[in-house]
Symmetry: C2
Subunit: 397 residues, 2 copies
Amino acid sequence: MKLMLMVAILACTFSLGLAADDSSPATSNVPGAEYPRIHDDLRATFRLKAPDAASVKVDVGGTTYDLVKGDDGFWTVTSNPLVPGFHYYALMVDGVSINDPGSETYFGVGRQYSGIEVPENGVDFYDAKDVPHGEIREHWYHSTVTGKWRRCFVYTPPGYDENTKKRYPVLYLQHGAGEDERGWGIQGRVNFILDNLLAAGKAVPMIVVMDRGYATRAGTPEPATYPPMGSQADPAARAKAFVERMRVFEDVFIQELIPMIDSTYRTIPDREHRAMAGLSMGGMQTCQITFHHLDMFAWIGGFSGAGNPFIAAPFDPSTSYDGVMKDAEAFNQRVKLLWLGVGTKEPERMYTGIQGFHEALEKAGIKHVYWESPGTAHEWQTWRRDLYDFAPRLFRH
Amino acid sequence: MKLMLMVAILACTFSLGLAADDSSPATSNVPGAEYPRIHDDLRATFRLKAPDAASVKVDVGGTTYDLVKGDDGFWTVTSNPLVPGFHYYALMVDGVSINDPGSETYFGVGRQYSGIEVPENGVDFYDAKDVPHGEIREHWYHSTVTGKWRRCFVYTPPGYDENTKKRYPVLYLQHGAGEDERGWGIQGRVNFILDNLLAAGKAVPMIVVMDRGYATRAGTPEPATYPPMGSQADPAARAKAFVERMRVFEDVFIQELIPMIDSTYRTIPDREHRAMAGLSMGGMQTCQITFHHLDMFAWIGGFSGAGNPFIAAPFDPSTSYDGVMKDAEAFNQRVKLLWLGVGTKEPERMYTGIQGFHEALEKAGIKHVYWESPGTAHEWQTWRRDLYDFAPRLFRH
């Protein structure tokens, strides 16, 4: 009896093993990976086996930590508490930035990068819940502008396949620089956010289109997606390259993407049922495209990105974007929603940029919503919250 | 004039730069990444910036190469000619296996891994071509068996949304160990293979369902996807764990996945219009599931995986799988297609395993197709070719 009890205690100790403290594997880990682990207070413990390395660091949440080597060849460190949400992070082995084999990777900063999901207490609006689920469809289309096949992703709401006569409004939703058309579906969890809003009756059923924010003219090579402006040292050349890239994307978007979507999906193909929003670079693209084509869009969102420092700086409502806001009353009547969001912990330049845009609109009498995400930086938790506030306001007539 | 010519020559030299030889960036590179590069003779050049590393290697195509450090801190090596197709590969920095920042990553070997696409001269059956394209849909469903939300991917053929009365046969197509439900859509290019076959009139329009090949009972933790049998040293325990995992998957598949697909998509929900195939572990799952449920399947494919060494070894047609093949004539009448494929360069154990299965079937008078992929190993080029041979044979009545 005593022996069996001892065996039981030993077995229990062994099976608890690594989980004996308050931590558990991050939900962003690959199956079976015990590290990284998240503690109750949102500190994270990182670990890597590297017996022959001279130095291992982790760069997460804006801080670099040195991992400490154990006798078993495993390096470990526990971070300070992390802000809830999704963070890209990198390990560094002898100075080389690497992915953590324990984590999933996500396309960001121009390459595949490790990511860690830090839970937010009591917040589940972006989780898979017991509600009807829409689909995210991978759709390929040929672009004459770029001379290439392009991939976009299309969220169709629950019921889309059953209600074969019903037509839907469309939100075009763009990623930021260094990311791509996969971002909103994977890091952003657009499907779960919409599924949950729809199940709660808080949003109008809509199609969401997530296109690739990069485009170059046919016959020209596709540049790196990061850094966003190319590597030219000359600011004027950078600005010129950026403006040109924005123009090519606008051509693809207006001449190819929207007609393809309207002929492929059961959309309501008019401006009152078409919205566009984007994050960071995608917010600038949104402003450029919607302000130049108000005949096509009535609902506009800029998430941590609005205006365009390269073609409309300083922003002046009376002249910028060909003076589309010159007549505030006319603009206010035409645009059903102009929505701006920013995280309170974003880099100073971004925060003041959006705030400046907001204040200029305010001063010019341009109706808009300005929203701040408390405690979050230039990152996906800000943009998930943005979408959660923005989407319910759409297509309310 | 002379000066302008010199400038032109210099500019030309500069713009060619890295591309002055016969190599070009692999198509699997992230946008803008110049390395890895593929040469005309299919050698590949790998490069990594690691000024502080003591050693950098690359493990590709079954060989490990040492990279050589240059004065600029970049390490470089050129491999021997690689076999055409998709290969997982890893760089090693001071003994740590890392992803190449220049390449996309792919879920394989139980984690996100670098991959390189090596072109095959004159072969384009898995490329995006100017033909109508189907969609790959990300679909989430709740599983009572596992107590979790599960993700599958569903290929719908071109025209699925237009022909809203048309119903389609279904191919269930499984990935291998260490991979997941994303494998066939990304590494396998199932959509382009089917699009091209359909455009050429070589296959019957069908829905393809790619589910997650892992499942554990509700309340039990999800183990690592690799190594495939768990980490138990005891072969009997490994076999037991594997068999149990196969059973749970079979339960999900039969009780949950198929009914969900048949109630969500416009399928023809009978055995004559339902096929199952899988690669490696997925081939074993296919044998287990279809042979146990011939009332549900009439078309069966094992790609580099058939039989099951843990529950039916040695394979004996008169007794294995509850004797389903005991009456060869009855089996031959019932099963419209039993298809087996293997690459000629697969590891000896796998090659002889499939060949042994084929020979046992032959001896027992069980009709089947046996196909070899010339020159390829246990890898995606074998399975792409398998699908290209297998899919056109399906649903021909």
